[in-house]
């Protein structure tokens, strides 16, 4: 009996690696500590009522952001472990198998569980406020999306202490990821973790498109929408076209592994190349899903801190929409070398280069917006300015990669690694950091400390170039990606050491950011204006943090930067008092436990399938069905906020006595 349990445990838990043992122990301690603190301070009910069951888009957004920062930490530790291993030749810090697991989980976590939720977090917190809406179109579905993401990410993350991590690369190419070459459960965790959170992303795409099309404040025509909202819109369009492809691809891979199907196997008539096509038909658009919102953020910030209207608004919108269409016609550039034939390669080389045109137009628009502006160098603006050269270099190396014959040289080398980090960190991460700094006061009612923020900024930036510029040269020197060690005589040692130093500089930058947040929470000055940056768009017209109902009175929009125009008008009119607003009862959705419960059940469905435990998967699946029916039978799911309560809230928020 006892040895049976032992045998099971040794298969179930990952053992034998001191690094992982350390992680297991610290996770256990952290869990106990969290449970203890919540119990000691009697916060369980509060947590449940205010957060776990909330349907308020602002709170959902904040939860997305918290999770994504935690995931940035995990992905960052992975990155630094890899860099440590590569810092010197012939290092024996990580075993090759462990190295494979780390680069796989690093890639997945950074893109799907760090960048995506950070993006959804900003979508949620800001976009409805920008269009003057009370809420998103489907608040319940929105909560469900978040919890699906959360439990999907958890499922993926437990793999490194339970069962073992996937190790077939972040896109899990078969036959490597097939049953024959990855017989363990790691690849199952990959499939289910991404599948569950992916369904959530798809739902968000639908939700936000409807929100933008149907819930704009009266007067806000499409061409008066703020640029960030436009970027959300284009990103969501890509989501609803790309994510179903991912859903199918992962499902088919699962059928191969679980039922012995032959979609992507080498035998039985399967076709591994089909997987590579399918995954990149999602994968390439995916990178545009995450970059477009960053473009939107930069556009907002540039206009605000240059005190000018965005240059070329219409061309910006147009460029964004073109990019979202073109992004679907470039996927083959990820495997020029895999025998598609010259004419196919030429087509995809040209479409790839074509994307540089609208992107270039945008860069010029940002530059023209700054030209002759009264620029203020706040932290969000610094990240924006730093983004421009970084993205220009990253874009140019991308164009080099898109030259199909040249790609036969660059492909799978460190040149590629340097390129995509340049666009992902310099574009996506910088963009979302800028957005986070910019909208932080809207979320929490105080600014983050600018001094510490500048330290973080410089550490990240210098660290970035120190880390990734050498990698271009390493790539040209023939260092291929995913090698876990190399010999002295390759001559890659010094550049790799430099690169590692850069990686750690960014790590220190991250620590500064955490410190900055902690410090500002303690020492902040409350912002009572709701508009600390002298902003231009509607989210700045209401108090911070925004009340549950967002706008006490629905705004009427006349201009592109409507709030800016309103402020100008008010200033011109002198100190004339605004008429007292007339409030009406506000219709709101009720909290619901179903999104949380249902997503938790999905976790068990996934976990059951991972281990081939039908006794767990099937009841959990039935539970999911019951949740769906329960939702369908819920009719009493809304309430009204009455006028007197609005009056009290508004008075309290604006610091006047009612």
């Amino acid at each position: 009996m006892l040895d049976k349990i032992q045998e099971f445990a040794s298969e179930f838990f990952v053992t034998g690696d001191p690094l992982i043992l350390g992680a297991q122990v610290s996770i256990a301690i952290a869990m106990v500590a969290i449970v203890f603190v919540l119990t000691y301070f009697r916060k369980w009910v509060w947590l449940w009522r205010e957060w776990l069951t909330t349907v308020d888009h602002k709170r959902i957004g904040i939860m997305y952001i918290i999770c994504s920062i935690l995931m940035l930490f995990r992905g960052g530790v992975d990155a630094l472990l890899m860099r440590l291993q590569l810092a010197v030749p012939n290092a024996e810090f990580l075993h090759p198998e462990h190295y494979n697991q780390i680069f796989t989980t690093h890639g997945v976590i950074m893109i799907l569980f760090m960048a995506m939720p950070l993006m959804f977090g900003l979508f949620n917190v800001i976009m409805p406020l920008q269009i003057g809406a009370r809420d998103v179109a489907y608040p319940f579905l929105n909560a469900l999306s978040f919890w699906l993401f959360f439990f999907g990410a958890m499922l993926f993350n437990v793999s490194f202490i339970i069962g073992g991590s996937p190790d077939a690369g972040w896109l899990a190419y078969p036959p490597l990821s097939g049953l024959e070459h990855s017989p363990g459960v790691g690849q199952n965790f990959y499939i289910w973790g991404i599948q569950i959170s992916g369904i959530g992303s798809l739902a968000t795409g639908i939700n936000f498109i409807v929100t933008i099309l149907k819930m704009r404040a009266p007067g806000m025509t499409l061409m008066k929408m703020p640029m960030f909202t436009w970027s959300v819109f284009s990103s969501c369009i890509i989501i609803i076209f790309a994510f179903p492809i991912l859903t199918v691809t992962l499902a088919l891979l699962f059928l191969d592994r679980f039922l012995g199907a032959h979609f992507f196997t080498l035998d039985g008539g399967g076709n591994p190349m089909m997987y590579i096509n399918l995954i990149w038909m999602w994968g390439h658009p995916e990178v545009y899903i995450v970059i477009l919102p960053a473009f939107g953020i930069f556009s907002e910030i540039v206009a605000t801190f240059s005190k000018k209207t965005l240059f070329g608004y219409k061309s910006m919108v147009f460029a964004m929409l073109i990019i979202s269409v073109l992004s679907f016609f470039t996927w083959v550039h990820h495997f020029f070398t895999m025998g598609s034939g010259a004419d196919v390669n030429v087509f995809f080389a040209i479409t790839t280069m074509a994307i540089a045109i609208p992107t270039g137009a945008k860069v010029f628009n940002w530059l023209f917006t700054m030209y002759r502006g009264r620029i203020k160098f706040t932290t969000p603006m610094l990240w924006t300015i730093a983004f421009i050269p970084c993205f220009v270099i990253g874009g140019m190396t991308g164009v080099l990669l898109s030259v199909a014959p040249a790609d036969f040289q660059f492909h799978n080398s460190y040149f590629l690694i340097a390129h995509f980090h340049q666009v992902l960190i310099g574009g996506v991460a910088f963009g979302y950091f800028a957005g986070l700094y910019y909208w932080w006061p809207k979320m929490f009612g105080f600014k983050l400390n600018e001094h510490l923020g500048k330290w973080a900024f410089w550490l990240w930036n210098i660290g970035f170039y120190v880390c990734f510029m050498p990698q271009y040269f390493l790539g040209l020197d023939g260092m291929t990606r995913r090698v876990s060690t190399y010999d002295f005589d390759m001559g890659w040692g010094s550049l790799n050491m430099v690169s590692t130093v850069g990686g750690f500089l960014m790590g220190i930058g991250f620590i500064f950011q955490v410190w900055q947040i902690a410090y500002s929470i303690k020492h902040h000055e409350k912002d009572v204006t709701g508009d600390p940056w002298d902003g231009r768009t509607l989210e700045w017209s209401i108090p911070s943090p925004a009340p549950v109902y967002n706008f006490a009175v629905t705004p009427h929009v006349e201009h592109v930067d409507d709030w800016w125009e309103t402020k100008q008008k008010r200033a011109a009119a002198g100190a004339a008092k605004e008429p007292r607003p007339v409030y009406e009862p506000i219709h709101m959705p009720k909290n619901s436990a179903i999104p949380f419960v249902k997503s938790a059940l999905w976790f068990f469905v996934g976990f059951g399938f991972v281990w081939d435990w039908m006794w767990m998967a099937i009841p959990a699946l039935i539970g999911v069905g019951i949740c769906m029916l329960a939702r369908s039978f819920t009719y009493d799911d809304d309430y009204y906020i009455q006028v007197d309560e609005i009056e009290r809230t508004e008075a309290a928020l604006r610091g006047v006595k009612a």
């Binding site: 608040p139 739902a203 691809t249 199907a261 076709n271 089909m274």
Partner: protein
Amino acid sequence: MAQAHAAAKGGHGHHDHGHHDLESMKTFGFWLFLITDCILFGTLFATYIVLRGNTNGGPTPEELFQMPMILAETFILLTSSFTSGLAVLAMHQGKVKQLIGWLIVTALLGASFIGLEIYEFVHMVHEGATISTSAFLSGFFALVGTHGLHVSLGLVWMIGLMIQLRRRGITPVTKRKVEVLSLYWHFLDVVWIFVLTVVYLMGVM
């Protein structure tokens, strides 16, 4: 897929616009969901087409497909689409009983479609044609099976809806639900026409 229909009831602010606005917004979201479902099926069709020649020495479409039964399935599903249309008509005339009656007929037809499909699958498996026999059969079971899964989900949903209609009658909410369900049902019908053409007819030709 499931998320969308179990999904949200909005909380859009203007209470002066009232429920009508909210319900029409949900229908709009459902159209978007159908677009995503189209892409889902499109991807499955593409994989099927790529793999359909790879029979790996196993049975070929000509040997497997029993056309009379497939035509019967088709006829049943098309009829159910028609009866779901009659249900919506009855709803617009405010006749709850008739509405529920037509929904029952639709559900029975849907159930017989699923019954025949299960029979077909079981039969194939007995003849040794399983999902792991060849790439062609993998593609076949994934595509046709996904359609069948959609129909089955629709059935559960329809039963739930009938109970709600019994309890509440025709309200703006139940009305929207019936409309969305019939949209879904017609959509599955259209997908089936493609399945019939691409999988069965082109398979035996």
